[in-house]
């Protein structure tokens, strides 16, 4: 019971985890990042892609759903279709811009949920230890027994396609590794002398422990999660490609790639574009994640 209350307090503390104690560290990180031009450049790419996605309705020159059978599969630069049209005569540029919404959602949402759930379970398991740790970590081990794509395909294949099912599947895929990282970091910190001391000194023990633990757990989790965004985008677009993700007629890069593939003999360049978008986005997230990892000096 006491274990449980600590855990609750720990949760509450997560919200207000003060960054003050580690400001020196963060200043250092900021300094390192400021001179890492490659990371900054790719961060700019991400900002651009996110901005395109967020402001898609205002930026996209045309309605991404507007079909026109008279103008199917037109090449790049046909009239005012700057990147040509797809198999239903829809403007590819507008669909690529709107498609970023789906692809980013599928990339970010599962990672956020998995971070919250996996992080919570991991901290819980690491902090409380004992049988609960056993139960949580052994369950995670079962999911570790599946390569990530296989697990995602299996779950969304069984539940049937669709964006929601795809997100659930991806969340389930990412929970175990995040949980494991949180658990390892928590267990390490928990055994440290100063935590033992803080625990012994009574009073605000819980919040001190929570601060120490979270301060040390958040870094690795954040870095790992930022790397997962790229994985998530790749797997999600793969699911859409297999017909298990976003459903038509919604613009999604994976789905666009899959349907445009049928027309690859008519207009190969146009058909290659969604793949380029997936590649650039996933590359940008990977580069930035890598830069952050170096700047924050986290070893995973």
């Amino acid at each position: 019971m006491t274990d449980f209350t600590t855990a609750t307090r720990l949760l509450a503390a997560e919200e207000e985890a003060p960054a003050t104690k580690v400001r020196g560290y963060w200043q250092n990180v900021g300094y390192r990042l400021r001179y890492d031009y490659v990371t900054l450049a790719f961060a700019l790419v991400i900002v651009l892609i996110v901005a395109l996605a967020v402001f898609a309705p205002w930026i996209a020159p045309k309605d991404p759903y507007k079909t026109s059978m008279a103008f199917r599969l037109r090449p790049v630069g046909f009239r005012d279709f700057h990147l040509g049209t797809d198999e239903l005569g829809r403007d590819i540029l507008s669909r690529l811009i709107h498609g970023g919404r789906m692809s980013l959602l599928m990339g970010v949402v599962p990672v956020v949920f998995a971070t919250l759930i996996g992080g919570f379970l991991g901290v819980l398991a690491g902090f409380i230890g004992g049988k609960l740790n056993m139960a949580i970590m052994r369950t995670m081990d079962v999911f570790y027994a599946f390569p990530s794509i296989l697990l995602a395909v299996a779950i969304s294949g069984a539940m049937g396609g669709g964006m929601a099912n795809g997100m659930v599947a991806l969340t389930l895929v990412f929970i175990p590794p995040l949980c494991r990282i949180a658990e390892t970091a928590t267990t390490q910190v928990r055994g440290l002398d100063f935590v033992e001391a803080a625990r012994a000194s009574g009073g605000s023990t819980g919040s001190i422990i929570a601060t120490h633990i979270l301060g040390n757990v958040l870094g690795p989790i954040f870095i790992y999660a930022s790397g997962l965004v790229s994985v998530s985008i790749l797997i999600a677009s793969g699911l859409s490609f297999l017909g298990l993700g976003v459903e038509p007629p919604h613009p999604d890069w994976g789905l666009m790639l899959s349907t445009l593939r049928q027309s690859i003999y008519v207009n190969p360049i146009v058909c290659a574009l969604p793949g380029v978008m997936i590649f650039v986005t996933s590359l940008a997230f990977n580069m930035v994640s890598d830069g952050l990892r170096q700047a924050m000096d986290v070893r995973l």
Binding site: T67, M69, R72, E87, L88, G160, E247, P249, Q262, Y265
Partner: protein
């Protein structure tokens, strides 16, 4: 450190041994390629090799490539000409007729001197054994899967009897003047071979029929190899190539790539957007009408389509020419349940494009804008290019005042909707499931009869017309073909009067052939005869 390296060396050695083993094994299993044989290599749209143990699965494509190649049925389809819709022709039965004294008793006279590939005789006992195979769940050779697939065709059979070694009688429960057509789907497999195998699993590795090709080997999910049956009972249909190789390739782009890179000689259903590329590489692209219908079945109980004027409006809204153009000419405009080349087409009302009339009808029906929900699939057998096609239909409907919601689902889910009927899915106002219209029952009646109201049958939206009910009862009791055909044509015309479906298009059964393939005559049918094909030598 030394300990370190030693362990590493050991492991490296193990690994190397493993590699050698893996590569060696793959090398061992190689066999020399057959020389100087002509081989026809076909890419099918199916995802797997169809069932070779009798009634094929994978739809009519299975019958086309595995059914009528390995096996024969009592009655076959005449696939030798392109100019008319394929009709029935004697197969393992030389004659079939209704017993003049009993309108439920069909008499089949069997062909003599026919032998199975294993050498056993084809006779009346074998026919009876084959009938029990998919009708009688108590016999040891009962096949549950084929029973399920054939149920709609077998449900009217009461029993079968042997009259003599070369004559059998099949007795139906109800008089059915169209019953004989069902026997064209019934593959006769070798009783002797099955008994040697002992089970369908084993038999699948050594199937034996009477067909123009013999089984030569199979790599599951990859290829089925058949060889010429030199002693086929019909000398005209002994294959003009030595070997027929069938490969499942469900993806249209993969099939096109395989043909272009010379891996296969004959592909099924190239997608419209590959046609230009295929032609530019010298491939022959063949199209011909056949009994196929790409349409929507309406919901006659819930929603706007229960009003005939709304159904007519939808039909008047269709710009079918635009659809054909989008499909690069691989389809023809659809104005009825069967294509105009069908003997049952008649002179129905044709709903030619008339957007003004459509809008007027909607306003008259007080459904403007008229909100409808259509259930469609992302893919599926016979569905052609469902997404672009449905998008086009949607835009055409919306142009006259409909407001269309496409409910997109996978093929299985759509089949489930179709199978359970409108009662379970009142929110759907129409379903887009394309159909084979090979015979009057499966092509016309099952969408019109009260008895076929889903879930009992194929009449998804519970369409009904008293005149059709009367006509169909009469048809089943009319054994004079000319009179019967006239009545079937009338049923087709009434369905058009009622605008019983949203008619859109009929597929043109496209195929692409390598330039070295000669002699193929495409029939107006779901089935095709590959035997006259000659192929330039391949290795």
């Amino acid at each position: 450190m030394p300990h370190h390296t030693q362990t590493f060396r050991k492991i490296a050695a193990c690994l190397a041994a493993g590699i050698a083993l893996a590569f060696g094994a793959s090398a061992l299993s190689s066999i020399a390629p057959a020389q100087a044989q002509t081989t026809l290599r076909v890419a099918m749209t199916a995802g797997d090799i169809p069932d070779v143990t009798g009634q094929p699965d994978q739809g009519f494509e299975g019958y086309r490539f595995v059914g009528y190649t390995l096996y024969d049925s009592l009655i076959l389809w005449d696939l030798s000409r392109s100019d008319v819709e394929a009709s029935l022709t004697p197969g393992l039965a030389t004659k079939w007729e209704i017993d003049p004294k009993d309108s439920k008793r069909w008499i089949f006279t069997l062909r003599k001197d026919v032998k199975f590939h294993d050498g056993s005789d084809f006779n009346a006992d074998v026919v009876l054994w084959n009938i029990s195979r998919i009708t009688d769940e108590k016999v040891p050779h009962f096949n549950a899967k084929q029973f399920a697939a054939m149920r709609t065709r077998t449900v009217n059979i009461d029993r079968a009897e042997k009259i003599d070694d070369h004559t059998v009688a099949i007795i139906t429960k109800e008089p059915d003047s169209l019953f004989y057509i069902q026997m064209s789907f019934w593959m006769m497999i070798s009783k002797a071979q099955f008994e040697k195998a002992g089970s369908y699993e084993k038999y699948a590795q050594m199937p034996s029929g009477t067909g123009p090709y013999r089984f030569a080997g199979m790599v599951p999910r990859e290829r089925l190899e058949l060889t010429r049956n030199d002693t086929y009972w019909n000398p005209k249909r002994v294959p003009k190539h030595d070997r027929l190789v069938l490969q499942p390739m469900p993806e249209a782009t993969t099939r096109a790539a395989a043909l272009l890179s010379g891996q296969v000689d004959f592909i099924e259903a190239p997608s419209p957007d590959t046609i230009a590329r295929l032609k530019s590489s010298g491939m022959q692209v063949i199209t011909l009408p056949y009994p196929h219908n790409w349409h929507y079945q309406f919901n006659f109980v819930d929603g706007p389509f229960k009003d005939k004027r709304v159904r007519q409006a939808a039909n008047y809204a269709m710009d079918r020419g635009e659809m054909v153009e989008m499909l690069n000419g691989l389809a023809q405009e659809g104005y009825g349940t069967v294509p105009p080349s069908s003997p049952y087409f008649g002179k129905p009302v044709l709903y030619k494009l008339d957007p003004k009339k459509a809008t007027a009808l909607l306003k008259e029906a007080k459904c403007y804008p008229c909100e409808v929900t259509l259930a469609i699939s992302t893919s599926g057998s016979g569905q052609m290019q469902p997404l672009p096609m449905n998008e086009l239909v949607k835009s055409q409907l919306e142009a006259v005042g409909f407001k269309v919601k496409l409910e997109v689902m996978d093929w299985n889910a759509l089949l489930d909707v179709t199978f359970k009927g409108r009662e379970k899915f009142p929110a759907y106002h129409a379903v887009n499931v394309s159909r084979a219209t090979q015979d009057p029952f499966s092509g016309i009646f099952r969408f019109a009869m009260r008895k076929q109201w889903a879930p009992a049958g194929g009449n998804w939206g519970h369409y009904e017309n008293p005149e059709i009910e009367k006509l169909i009862t009469e048809i089943y009791n009319t054994f004079d073909q000319a009179k019967r055909d006239a009545m079937i044509t009338r049923v087709h015309e009434i369905m058009n009067d009622d605008a019983a479906m949203l008619f859109v298009t009929h597929d043109l059964n496209p195929r692409a052939l390598s330039p070295k393939v000669k002699g193929f005559v495409q029939a107006q049918s779901w089935f095709q005869d590959l035997t006259p094909i000659t192929v330039g030598t391949t290795n």
